[in-house]
Symmetry: C2
Subunit: 329 residues, 2 copies
């Protein structure tokens, strides 16, 4: 199985991308196609001694993270993002991962990959690790900023398929992101979506508030792409703050100095800080199109790339695209 | 100056409310009017030996935190929430604080206190301490779940007045909560609000993402009440998670065991955890009505109540209502 990886996307490309890909090749036994400029990639793969399991696919252009996505995709046909999505379209790669311009990745995927029949709006599904065995999905985290209630119902279905297929959850608990405590009224979109969700045969558990997202109250949390993106960035921002205050290295150093209860608590905290870090994230999957496209955080380093490759590998292996195709008929 | 406090609202009422009020009376030299059932309040004030500086205002009814707000306010005229807002209306108290049903507090305030002329939609302004000298305001955090762009411009103005008057910031930096990195398109509301905000004479600094809220990038962050409430609850939820993993007591215990750099980092982390805790929050102020109404977190304990009283005291002292009245003309 070949996973294509954008070697030009993200703040730490290409070095950290190659490092992360090298680790993934070794750990998960996947083959990786690095998409980017050939010369530097050849040097880096030699440097990390990882020629085995690697292909380099040349892409001479780069889409910057602040370029207007639609124009960039149109004007740069030889960019790593466009070339990468085409590898998936042409069946040459089982998935494509990019830590580059999210809008451009979504745009290139929409342009080059077919929308699955029955899906009105493909959506970005954010993957949040809760603990060793639990994961929360937040969908949509940015592909559709203005939504109608029917869209949210489809996001729930897409998330449900992903949770069943990729995460192996039997009857995923689906929650609607909403004002918490029922003290605050829902907005119109949430109200109408709630009514529609109740009528589906999903395992709909009702409203969940912002405080419930990382508490594991629901497996799939549905919201519009504007709110989802703001929430995703809020969580990432808090992760950054904690990271800056305490690096995992310091946590480990302190842990070895201590004994007893305090040690346990401190280690849990260190795990939590690490867990909230985008370097540990699996990324976000674009669901509803005919191919596996994963968006990683722009500040992804080797570990995030490695984990995104694992996620892509799992998505491809479990055939989530096929599951969605069959489910949406 | 008398601050009225809902002694029946919130998960830890009345005990923690009385404790917090007692601490505030002692520290800030304010007088407190406790609103609730007389008998238990008399026992508690005796127990905490704080008869000085206290008045008890009887309110025989209680609005539960899950009651539908509008009906509850109508059907329970002798509830602590309704009685408390009337104390402000009648000039008997300079402010009213409640950790009870947020919707009911907002509803009772709208019913009993005049809207300031020129204000279309009063809004809840969340107060987030950033560090010892900085505070971020997020407005609206739940009073208006469906918004038009003009509303957001007014929220910006209300937040600006509050930041100037209560926090003493000369030219508050106003940001619009939006998709971060400009990678993700804004939704329609954000797009139109952005254009309107550019035309104001506010110190508008453009879009800020969820990751910027607690980073001090802007003094006043504007959003609709649905998104604001979800973000507020997300931050509170993460605070809870960290609190559960490490209580401040443990942090202090560990700190004394250590030396050097690690100690400093660890203490900062402990401060951060404490700062994110709603027990440290000042609460949210309802802005745009003719009176000071503060909503505290439903799980407020003594410290949160004390801090909410300080905030109410400061708001009343600086005359933010008068500032808004003059500013909106």
């Amino acid at each position: 199985m070949i996973i294509a990886v954008d070697a030009a996307g993200g703040d730490y490309a290409p070095k950290e991308v190659v490092k992360g890909a090298a680790a993934a090749v070794e750990e998960y036994g996947v083959d990786v196609a690095l998409v980017g400029r050939r010369a530097p990639l050849e040097m880096l793969t030699r440097r990390y001694e990882v020629e085995q399991g690697f292909t380099i696919v040349e892409a001479t252009e780069v889409i910057g993270c602040n370029e207007p996505p639609v124009q960039a995709v149109r004007n740069k046909p030889d960019s790593s993002i466009v070339v990468g999505t085409k590898l998936v379209r042409d069946g040459l790669a089982s998935a494509f991962i990019s830590a580059g311009n999210t809008g451009a990745v979504v745009g290139a995927a929409f342009l080059n990959l077919a929308r699955i029949e029955g899906v009105q709006r493909p959506a970005l599904c954010g993957v949040f690790p809760i603990d060793a065995s639990n994961t929360a999905l937040l969908i949509d985290v940015g592909a559709n900023v203005d939504c109608r209630p029917e869209f949210l119902v489809q996001f729930a279905q897409l998330g449900d398929f992903f949770a069943k297929s990729v995460l192996g959850i039997e009857a995923p608990r689906v929650g609607l992101l909403n004002g918490s405590d029922e003290r605050i009224e829902a907005n119109l979109l949430a109200k109408e979506s709630y009514e529609l969700l109740e009528k589906t045969d999903l395992n709909f558990i009702g409203s969940v508030g912002g405080q419930d997202i990382l508490m594991g109250k629901a497996d799939v949390i549905v919201t519009d792409g504007f709110t989802g993106n703001v929430v995703l960035k809020t969580i990432e921002g808090l992760g950054d703050i904690f990271q800056n205050l305490m690096s995992p290295e310091q946590a480990i150093k302190i842990s070895t100095d201590l004994r007893g209860t305090a040690l346990v608590h401190y280690s849990q905290l260190a795990c939590m800080v690490e867990r909230m870090d985008y370097k540990e994230y699996g990324g976000a999957c674009l669901l509803g199109i005919d191919g596996n496209i994963i968006v990683a955080h722009g500040r992804s380093q080797a570990k995030a790339i490695k984990n995104a490759i694992r996620l892509a590998h799992r998505a491809a292996q479990t055939g989530v695209v096929k599951v969605i195709k069959e489910g949406m008929q």
